[in-house]
């Protein structure tokens, strides 16, 4: 019987690895997800026959699977494409919570003096799982705009977080060395939950995806630790795979923004924000605003137009309108391309998903390195709902929080058209000099309305 389980877990592990491999190439990605799901079914299916169920246990599992399955399916099916990042955060958080609870439950069975080899992974899983749960919930709340998305900071924040972390480590040592009443773990859990919240509060804006990816890796490690507690190979292997690949992915994501992970987590954004706000406060420079007819003429008689889509486009659900505009221009012989910044949208790759949903042809989506050299030959850079990814401050002002982030060279185009709702700064909360550039024309309004007006004006032009 255990042999069957061992083989099933081995097969599941192989399927997870193959799934991950397929997920990292565009061609096989969807099959990869399916492969991993098959692995999951095999692992769960093989576990069940071995267990001795109590009646209460059976009922509990039945209810849990039905509720969880319904919530998971409903949430994943109903969520708008723009809200995907917070949905991933939510699903990650509940996984971390489950890992912590499994560890708690197992610890309770060990009695007052559990052996170190059993107690250590349990305690580890409780701490990391709880941090992941609380942190993910804060990330969800921020992205869903249930609370402010900007960094929340106060003096001495790092010190306070450090003290909470130190208290947790002290608590862990006390629990492991002295061992004691099982319920001391409640205290540990509360501290870890507090740290999870405190750790994500000062992180905001464009850094959120990196944090979600890191918490994803945390959950993987917590699951692996729970696997050590339960002596379950499937949990150890799958959890570790996620912990390792999630850590690498986190690094790749911060690399894509030209920042180090430490810089993302421990807050350059928080510190410089005050300075940026002060600059914005005394802003007196003027901007040039245009109307739909002027812009339609400009666009219709251009040879090359590069569209720079950003999150504002996604929020306004303007993917289809932008494609309509692009098609109209192409009919008039204008060459249209889209410049996709690696972190356009809310997460790397998010913008590709959104534009693909609107059937924008794949060939027109150009990655940053591919298109940056072409801006100087473009007649118009049409920036739709993007801001930080074209902010020249990233190149020119070392004091700026986004300094060093690779940006799209929209400022090199002959004309720049900005579609924005207002002069409000972007996601990173900093001012953009490009808005005041003499080559720049502002077109204020909701991205979808503005694009619809433009489409009509181009038809008439």
């Amino acid at each position: 019987m255990t042999l069957v389980i061992a083989i099933a877990y081995l097969v599941a592990a192989v399927l997870f690895i193959l799934g991950l491999k397929q997920l990292s190439s565009p061609k096989g990605a969807r099959n990869g997800n399916f492969t991993a799901a098959v692995g999951m079914v095999i692992a769960i299916g093989a576990t069940i026959p071995l267990l001795h169920f109590t009646t209460a246990g059976l009922i509990v599992i039945g209810i849990g699977v039905v509720i969880g399955g319904a919530v998971g399916t409903f949430g994943a099916r109903m969520v708008k494409m723009t809200a995907i990042p917070q949905m991933v955060a939510l699903f990650n958080g509940v996984g971390g919570g489950a890992a912590a609870l499994v560890a708690v439950s197992e610890l309770l069975t060990f009695g007052n003096h559990p052996p170190f080899a059993e107690a250590f992974p349990s305690v580890f899983s409780i701490v990391i799982g709880s941090i992941s749960f609380a942190g993910s919930m804060v990330a969800f709340a921020k992205l869903q705009e249930l609370m402010t998305g900007t960094p929340i900071t106060y003096p001495g924040q790092q010190v306070v977080n450090g003290l909470i972390a130190a208290a947790i480590i002290g608590f862990v040592i006390a629990v492991l060395a002295v061992a004691s009443v099982p319920f001391s773990f409640v205290g540990l859990m509360v501290l870890a939950l507090v740290l999870g919240v405190a750790f994500v509060l000062p992180i905001g804006g464009a850094d959120m995806p990196v944090v979600i990816s890191l918490l994803n890796a945390f959950t993987g490690l917590a699951v692996a630790a729970s696997g050590f507690t339960l002596n379950n190979f499937a949990l150890i292997v799958a959890g570790t795979l996620v912990g390792a690949s999630g850590s690498l992915l986190t690094k790749l994501m911060s690399d894509a923004m030209g920042r180090s992970l430490g810089n993302v987590l421990f807050g350059a954004f928080g510190q410089v924000k005050a300075g940026a706000a002060a600059v914005a406060g005394k802003e007196t420079r003027s901007v040039r605003a245009g109307n739909a007819e002027d812009l339609a003429t400009l666009l219709a008689y251009s040879r090359r137009v590069i569209i720079v889509p950003g999150y504002g486009l996604a929020v306004a659900q303007a993917q289809h309108a932008v494609r309509e505009l692009a098609e109209l221009l192409e009919k008039r012989g204008v060459e249209v391309n889209y410049a996709i910044h690696p972190v356009a949208g809310r997460m790397p790759g998010h913008m590709n998903v959104l534009l693909a949903e609107a059937n924008v042809p794949y060939e027109q989506l150009k990655e940053m390195d591919e298109i940056n050299g072409e801006f100087k030959d473009a007649d118009v850079a049409l920036v739709v709902g993007a801001n930080d990814v074209v902010n020249p401050a990233a190149r020119s002002s070392p004091g700026s929080p986004i300094y060093g982030m690779p940006i799209l060279n929209a400022d090199q185009a002959k004309n720049i058209v900005f579609m924005k709702r207002s002069m409000r700064p972007g996601f990173a909360g900093i001012d953009n000099d490009l808005l005041y550039d003499p080559k720049t024309i502002m077109f204020f309004g909701d991205a979808k309305d503005s694009l619809t007006k433009l489409v009509n004006a181009v038809k008439a032009a």
């Binding site: 998971g72 995806p209 992915l249």
Partner: protein
């Protein structure tokens, strides 16, 4: 017992290397789906949740088991479904490929 622990540790270390190696060449556009996919895989904690819930008898273990199974199932099901929805878009994009250029 101790050789069992050593075995587990061996799997742990090897899995770290495999996990890093297997995704080392992922293009930027797949970062989000890949994060979501790995997110679904750590839903394997459902196996652990079922194991602890199976023998539940006291009110405390019943409560822990119920919450753990519910959360873990949400993780697994939601994770795989939402990843599939994202990747569905990529497939649509490739289907739209031939008629696109003119």
């Amino acid at each position: 017992m101790s050789s069992g622990l050593l075995n587990e540790f061996t799997f742990f270390v090897l899995a770290i290397f495999v996990g890093i190696e297997v995704i080392s060449k992922v293009p930027t556009i797949l970062h989000t789906p890949l994060m979501s996919g790995t997110n679904a895989i750590h839903g394997i904690i459902l196996v652990g949740a079922i194991v602890i819930a199976a023998g539940a008898s006291s009110p405390l273990t019943i409560a822990l088991g119920l919450v753990a199974v519910t959360l873990a199932t949400t993780n697994v099901v939601g994770g795989f479904v939402v990843t599939d929805r994202m990747l569905e878009m990529f497939k649509g994009r490739q289907a739209a490929k031939p008629p696109a250029p003119k």
